[in-house]
Symmetry: C2
Subunit: 267 residues, 2 copies
DNA sequence: TAGTGGTCTAGACCACCTT
DNA sequence: AGGTGGTCTAGACCACTAG
C-alpha cells in the first residue's frame, strides 16, 4: 500500500528518525485524533531546519522530489508544505530555479516591513542617521516586550530616518544584548537592520506586530524632526518576532505624517 | 485524451459558452502565450457569478465535483480556484457542509475591517450613534475617491462610535446615492453598515485600503469625543472596494488613542 | 447513510531557467 | 539537455455534517 512507508523515512544529517510515517500514524487513524496532516508535519520539519540554520537565508532547498523521498511523502504533499511556507514569506519559489530561503532584501523591507508611503502611494526606503547606541539594563517595560528579565542587558539604538530629504521618523530600537552581542559597537548599523540581524547574528525576523497611536511631539523629538512641539505624530510601537516565535526587537517610531502616511490593506 | 474536453463545458443559466476548454486553449499551447491557467479561469468565472449575484452571500455553492463537471475541469482544479477565493475571504469552506459565499458578519467586521483594539489586544465592536445623514453633490475630492463626477449625488453619514462606554471615534462615511439610493432616509443605519450594503443594496465590500495619519482634534471633533481641542488623533482614511474592484465607500475616521490602538500584523 | 470538503498519492505534461 | 517548480488529472480514502 502506498500509505505504508518506511520507518526511517526521515533522515537528518544521516541519522534516522521517524517523526512522520509508521503505518499507525497515517491520517484519520482512530486513536490518533489530534494528529496533524502530513503536509503540516512536513512544513513543521522544514521550518525547524530553517530555525536551526540548516538552510541559511538565500540558499536553495532540495527539490520537491528530493524532500518527498527524504520525508517519505509524495511530491504533492511537499508542495503543499512549501506553498504554506511561501505564503508566510519564509521561502521563495522560482519556477525553473528552485525554492529558496527568504532573505530580508530591499523588497521585503519596502513592501512588508515599512508601511509609510508618499503621496502617490509611492514607496521609498528612508535613509537613516544613527543618533546613538547605548547599552543598559532592561526596564520593566523593555523586559516585558522582549520576554527578558528586568535588568538583563539590552542595546538601545536611536536614529532619525529621512524620507525625500525631510527628517520624518525618530526611532528607538531595543534588543537583547545576549541575542545581538556588540551590536552597533563598531558603528556598523545599516539602513535595513533586519539584514544585519540575519547575516551577522543569524536571527531571522519572520513577522511583526504594530500598534499605532497618535501622540504629540515632545520638544526633543520636535527638534529632531524640525517641527513645532505638540505637532501630532503617528507612533508605531512594533514588536518583531523571530522564526521560532520569540520577540527579538522592540521598536518605537514617531512619524511625521504631513507628507507621508501609513498604508494598510484590509481583506 | 483527458485534456480534450467538450466545447460546451461551461453553461451559464443554460446557455452554452466556451471560455475554458477547446483543445487549442490548453495550457502551454504555442500561439496562446498569455493564457491563464485553468484554475485562474475557473476562479474568474466563479468570481463573475459572485459579482453578478448569481450566488448571493450566505448561500452554498455547488459542490467541487458539480463545478468540475460544469466547467469541464477536474475536481482538483476547482479546488484550487475555490482555495484562492477562500484566501481572499470571498468564500468560506466548511468541511462536511459545503462552500458558501462569504457574508459580512460580526467576525469579519471585527477581525478584518476594524483594527482598533483595547489594551490587551481585546477586540470589541463599537456601538454607533448616528449624528446626521445628509445628501449633496460630490466635491472634487469625494468624486476622485469614489470614481464619480464632481456634482454627482452622494450621501454623507456622520456618526460617533463608542468603545467601552467612551466616545472614541468620529466617522464620516461618503457613498454614491446612485449605488445606495435612499440610504439612511428611513433611519435604518445599523452598526455594521457593510451588512446593509450587502443585504439591501447587493453591494459586497471585498477589500479596503486605509491611510493613517496623525491629526490634531478640531474643536467640533473634540467636543464630540469629550477631549481637549488639539489632542492628537489617529485619522483613518479608508476606501472600500466592491467585488468588481470599484470604490464604493470613502470613510474618514478620527480615533482617540489613549485607551485603544490600531493593530497591524506584518508578514 | 449520503454528501461535502480535506488529505494524499501517482503520473503526466508544461514553462522556465541554467548549462 | 536536464532540472526545477507549475498545472492538471484521476482516484482513493478520511473527517465532518446533516437528515
Amino acid at each position: 500500500m502506498s500509505y505504508i512507508r518506511h520507518m526511517n523515512c526521515l533522515r537528518v544529517n544521516g541519522s534516522a528518525v521517524n517523526q512522520i510515517s509508521t503505518k499507525d500514524m497515517r491520517p484519520g487513524k482512530a486513536g490518533n485524533p489530534a494528529r496533524q496532516p502530513l503536509y503540516a508535519q512536513v512544513r513543521a520539519l522544514i521550518l525547524r531546519r530553517l530555525i536551526d540554520g540548516v538552510w541559511r537565508p538565500g540558499t536553495m532547498l532540495p527539490s520537491e522530489i528530493q524532500l518527498g523521498v527524504e520525508f517519505g511523502v509524495s511530491q504533492g504533499t511537499v508542495r503543499k508544505a512549501l506553498d504554506a511556507l511561501a505564503a508566510e514569506n519564509l521561502v521563495v519559489r522560482r519556477q525553473g530555479r528552485g525554492t529558496f530561503v527568504a532573505e530580508h532584501d530591499l523588497d521585503r523591507a519596502l513592501f512588508h516591513f515599512f508601511h509609510m508611503v508618499g503621496e502617490n502611494a509611492e514607496r521609498q526606503l528612508p535613509d537613516s542617521r544613527v543618533l546613538s547606541c547605548r547599552y543598559g539594563k532592561a526596564s520593566a517595560t523593555e523586559a516585558a516586550q522582549l520576554a527578558l528579565l528586568k535588568g538583563d542587558p539590552v542595546a538601545r539604538i536611536r536614529r532619525v530616518r529621512v524620507l525625500g530629504g525631510v527628517p520624518a521618523i525618530v526611532e528607538t530600537i531595543v534588543v537583547s544584548e545576549a541575542l545581538f552581542p556588540n551590536i552597533g559597537r563598531d558603528g556598523d548599523l545599516p539602513n535595513t537592520i533586519y539584514e544585519l540581524y540575519e547575516r551577522r547574528y543569524e536571527v531571522t525576523v519572520a513577522r511583526a506586530e504594530e500598534r499605532l497611536r497618535a501622540k504629540a511631539a515632545e520638544p526633543a523629538i520636535a527638534e529632531l524632526l524640525e517641527i513645532e512641539p505638540g505637532t501630532p505624530l503617528l507612533e508605531i510601537d512594533r514588536t518583531a518576532f523571530s522564526l521560532d516565535g520569540a520577540p527579538v526587537e522592540w521598536r518605537l517610531s514617531l512619524c511625521e505624517t504631513r507628507s507621508h502616511y501609513y498604508l494598510a490593506e484590509l481583506v
